[in-house]
Symmetry: C3
Subunit: 238 residues, 3 copies
């Protein structure tokens, strides 16, 4: 693996088997597992004013260009990001996360294993996101019920839940496992597990597993692992 000659890598950064692209910056205290790639113009291990220090990213990460990851985050193996992602301090992210371009993950939050997002998502401080969650473009998790205030409270998103494009979850709302939020919905109340909600404010439409795929096959659209397994390691859902 190769450190590009234009990259700025601090002494003390642990990068065995890591490729670092042109003009990338890696600060001291960063430890990244083998097989990883850091794209051009990334700043990894960005200092923070808080108490965080160090940054651990697991093996086989692919961090695309113009991304910024702060000190004090801990990220499991298999991370893949789009371009221009920001991950702030004290974010704990599980294995095999895929985070789309322009995502803004504000810190002090947890994302489970196999998190998937498309571009332009926003995750406020204090959010708790389970395993296998999907966030489509412009899905937003908020945390301040009466902004600005000191009373922020993060959302909780259950395993396998899907937040469609433009969906916004209000502070402290709990979205149950396998729930589905329709596009551009504003979720102001807790969503029971397995339910599809829609609208502004979002209301329950019915069980998500009653939705059929639009291919005439009659197959259920949800739970989605019944038909969608692209990009997951073999055996993940068995």
């Amino acid at each position: 693996m190769e450190i590009h000659p234009t990259a700025q890598v601090a002494q003390g950064a642990q990068l065995d088997g890591v490729a670092v692209g042109p003009f990338a910056i890696v600060h001291a205290g960063v430890r990244i597992g083998p097989g990883s790639k850091i794209g051009a113009y990334c700043e990894i291990g960005h200092p923070t004013a808080g108490e965080a220090s160090g940054l651990v990213i697991g093996a086989n990460a692919n961090i695309r260009s113009h991304s910024v990851i702060y000190q004090g985050a801990e990220i499991g193996e298999g991370l893949a990001t789009g371009h221009r992602v920001v991950i702030r301090e004290r974010s704990l992210i599980g294995r095999n996360a895929q985070i789309g371009s322009n995502a803004d993950i504000q810190g002090d939050c947890r994302l489970g294993d196999f998190f998937r997002s498309q571009s332009n998502i926003f995750i406020a401080k204090g959010s708790r996101v389970g395993d296998f969650v999907w966030m489509l473009p412009y899905a937003v998790l908020t945390n301040d019920p009466s902004p600005p205030s000191e009373l922020t409270v993060g959302c909780e998103i259950g395993d396998y839940a899907v937040l469609s494009a433009g969906a916004m979850v209000l502070p402290g709302v709990k979205v149950g496992a396998h729930a589905v939020i329709a596009a551009q919905s504003l979720v102001s109340r807790d969503v029971p597990a397995g339910m599809l909600v829609m609208g502004t404010p979002a209301r329950v439409v019915g069980p998500a597993d009653e939705r059929r795929l639009p291919d005439g096959s009659g197959r259920a659209a949800y739970p989605w692992p019944g038909h969608f397994r692209r990009g997951y390691p073999p055996g993940t859902f068995d």
Copy 2:
């Protein structure tokens, strides 16, 4: 024209008459027409995991800083981008496109001639966008009717259509020529040509050409080429 000494230009990139800014990266297989400018921190010809190769950008392009354009795109002359645009593989974009900052064009899509967008638009894979289309800030074209699935289907946007700020078009929806989508509308059904639609979900308000400009002149606001021609070459609409 000048290649900045800090730029990283691969052998084999064809850049006759092209200015390349500080810290920009141009990969092999890229061909850009004369009179073009590549801004600082751009990565042009980004490799892709797919089958795409090469990248052709026509003459007189102005690609602003921090943008990323993938291999396998084909873009006509006169491209102008804002900052931090991403254009993914196999995007076919016509002449004189102007694409605002932070736009995310996901690949495998077609944009016609004289496309115009402001910042923060999102165009999902498989979208088909006609000539002279306008997308205002945060307008979004989606493609997955039951995310996540393998059944993505792009939107079709007709010539001269206008998508106002925050408008979202659901997967597979067809928006007719000269149609106008009001701000923050959620377009879940096809929109007939020339109609104005509004709301969540969007409903037809009436013919767009019944809307008057707000200057008291009595002139029709649509079709917009009747009053707005700034930035188009003389004779474009004659």
Copy 3:
């Protein structure tokens, strides 16, 4: 203070007591006050096609990475930006502004003192924003009532107003001082001072000062300086 050896600083830029990070670019005609920091990959004093020239940024600015600020802006002391902010020409910004990541400030606008935003806000040309205003993620100020047209008209946002996440203000709308716009609302009519509005289109819910904080204390949530003063200099609200 230090200019990183990889930075590109033009002769004539006035940077006494300013730290400039790796790969940053500072153009001629830029004047930045002492105690300021320019992050990596920033381009400060970006040329503009218009008549603007020069760029003045007050003391103690902290401009985070990948940001672009154009010639012709004037910004007071104490600016703090997130990553990847764009500030276009002829923007006048007061003291102690804090602008979140990915913000797009389009130029020819005014922002008062102590402006605060979180990430991904959009401020259209011609906007007028008062002192102590808050904009939460994805809040948007528009300016074209019948896009595209030459009849753009900016919004006016009064002192201490709060625009919650995803709120969009339509062109020319005036939002009164201390007004509060609920999340994802579409504001199509003027909002009286001190009122809370909500919905699509937004309607008046009642006086904002009737809202209580959600901590059971019975304290009013608005005007917010009654309970929230973090990050403001001592005595600001006395």
